[in-house]
Point group: C2
Chain length 311, copies 2
């Protein structure tokens, strides 16, 4: 394994993976992108990135993009950015690029992804992380990066290690803010404090983030759900500053009319990431007898919507 | 006042009022219909009723329909079937047909209508009631009555009186099942056990009643909200059979793919009857310190949707 001159595979180069992969390629890394839906368009037209950190394009000859992971080289660093709704296909989609000494970094939403990948490929291979960014795919190969944001990565089984810091360095050398953290679980729940209310309500009500915080009723809902996420992880000895909810709301005010990925999935009739973002946190709360009625109601409402999308 | 040969005014002849008014006219009553939106179409084309109890049509010459209540005769019996979202206009819309000895029967949804009308016209004039039916207006002057159902009417200030039974008789003589009941408040909450979950969830999720009860998550939501309505009125000494929730669900299974009026309002971008159907029951629960988190969440979600419809 070499993280000094790594072969990188980005599995799931949609909005998030497409942006990170393009930034890595722009900065000279040997990154290979698995993007079944956009492969043909990217091979023909390349990629166009509209970013607050500077627009750029990549012509087809600079891009290695695939619609079949079995055609990809084995990778030193595997970055998994698949929707969690594809997690039943992890073996098939991630497996072909994994070798004995691969490191697998999952930047997927919500809870449970490190465990699923660890079960499949060995827990020692897994690094987890959270991306705090606003990125939308607006067309095949065309990505809009509207809000700055940080990737935080950490070890599922302990504090940040040399490899964690090296991976963070690869992102930073690609122009992507990234830091290694010592408490991945806390980072996951920190992201859920935002992700669960805004993805959940955004999808359930089909409303953008500014619409959700634009009325006292919307703010009430956001605050109750934030408080429940904070309460849900307290039995895990994960605690936050008293004003974390208001900080999340304040940050949301800077984001404008942002459509969360789950709202977009709802609008497009795609399966929503309910399991990773809402159901798993709910089950943690229930397992510890924490009362989370709003989370329960949200989860059930989203499931009703999702089951009817699938029909 | 004469309820033997009454002049009847139906204020708000949409789906419900249009159907009842048409049935009264069909059976020889002197009913006058206020229907501002459909007046021109009904004067030109009459009314067409598709009903499980028999289809029928009324030609224009048999119909007295108005777009201005000031052109209507004063009425012995005023039947108010306006949406509660028009309750800020009750003085203007109902006032012109009220005389000293009018009886005003409100069949509007939810809580608070008897009080509002009593404040305006005198509480001694007011009779309240609930319509348990499935009626939709499918075009101007065209109404679909898809499920049988009963009107129950009662006195806001006591048990059923002679006038209550006479009014019930007028409905029955018009082919509309109707009974006088001795406990109007209980009847109102009985209807809310169905109305709050199915209108509320139907609108919040934009789903028909069969879709709501078609998954275990939807049933979970319906049951939690039914239980909260039952709990909310217990401090008022209103109690129900232990199996009332399951009875409501069983009846809903017979209704097919029914769109509640609140779902239709949401789809058409019209204001929803949140105040009468959800907010007032919620405030009763809160005033009696009954915990109703699901009702709170539903109310706030609907308000977010409603505030953005209005924009």
């Amino acid at each position: 394994m070499s993280l000094d001159k790594p072969v990188i595979a980005v599995i799931g180069a949609g909005a998030l993976g497409g942006y990170y992969g393009a930034r890595m390629i722009q900065h000279g890394f040997d990154a290979h992108l698995f993007s079944p839906s956009d492969c043909a368009a990217i091979r023909r037209d390349g990629m166009r990135i509209h970013s607050r950190d500077g627009d750029f394009s990549l012509p087809p000859k600079e891009l290695r993009v695939y619609d079949d992971p079995r055609q990809m080289p084995a990778a030193d660093l595997v970055v998994v950015t698949l929707k969690t709704t594809a997690n039943h296909r992890l073996a098939e989609l991630v497996g072909p690029v994994v070798k004995n000494d691969s490191i697998i970094l999952t930047l997927q939403n919500g809870l449970g992804n490190e465990e699923l990948l660890g079960d499949l490929f060995g827990p020692e291979k897994i690094v987890g992380g959270m991306a705090f960014v606003c990125i939308n795919r607006i067309a095949p190969g065309e990505i809009s990066h509207t809000d700055h944001g940080m990737i935080r990565i950490g070890e599922p089984l302990g504090a940040a290690a040399a490899r964690t810091r090296k991976i963070a360095g690869i992102f930073r050398q690609s122009g992507i803010p990234c830091e290694a953290i010592d408490d991945l679980a806390r980072g996951k729940w920190d992201k859920l404090i935002w992700n669960l209310p805004f993805n959940g309500l955004g999808a359930a009500l089909d409303r953008t983030t500014d619409q959700l915080i634009g009325s006292k009723e919307g703010l009430w809902l956001v605050r109750r759900l934030c408080e429940e996420v904070i309460a849900a992880c307290r039995p895990l000895n994960i605690q936050f500053e008293f004003n974390v909810t208001e900080e999340k709301i304040r940050h949301t005010q800077t984001m404008g009319a942002y459509k969360t990925s789950m709202q977009i999935d709802r609008q497009l009739g795609r399966p929503m990431e309910i399991e990773a973002i809402v159901s798993r946190p709910l089950r943690v709360a229930e397992a510890n007898s924490v009362s989370v009625p709003y989370m329960s109601m949200l989860c059930n409402m989203l499931s009703v919507l999702d089951s009817l999308i699938a029909k």
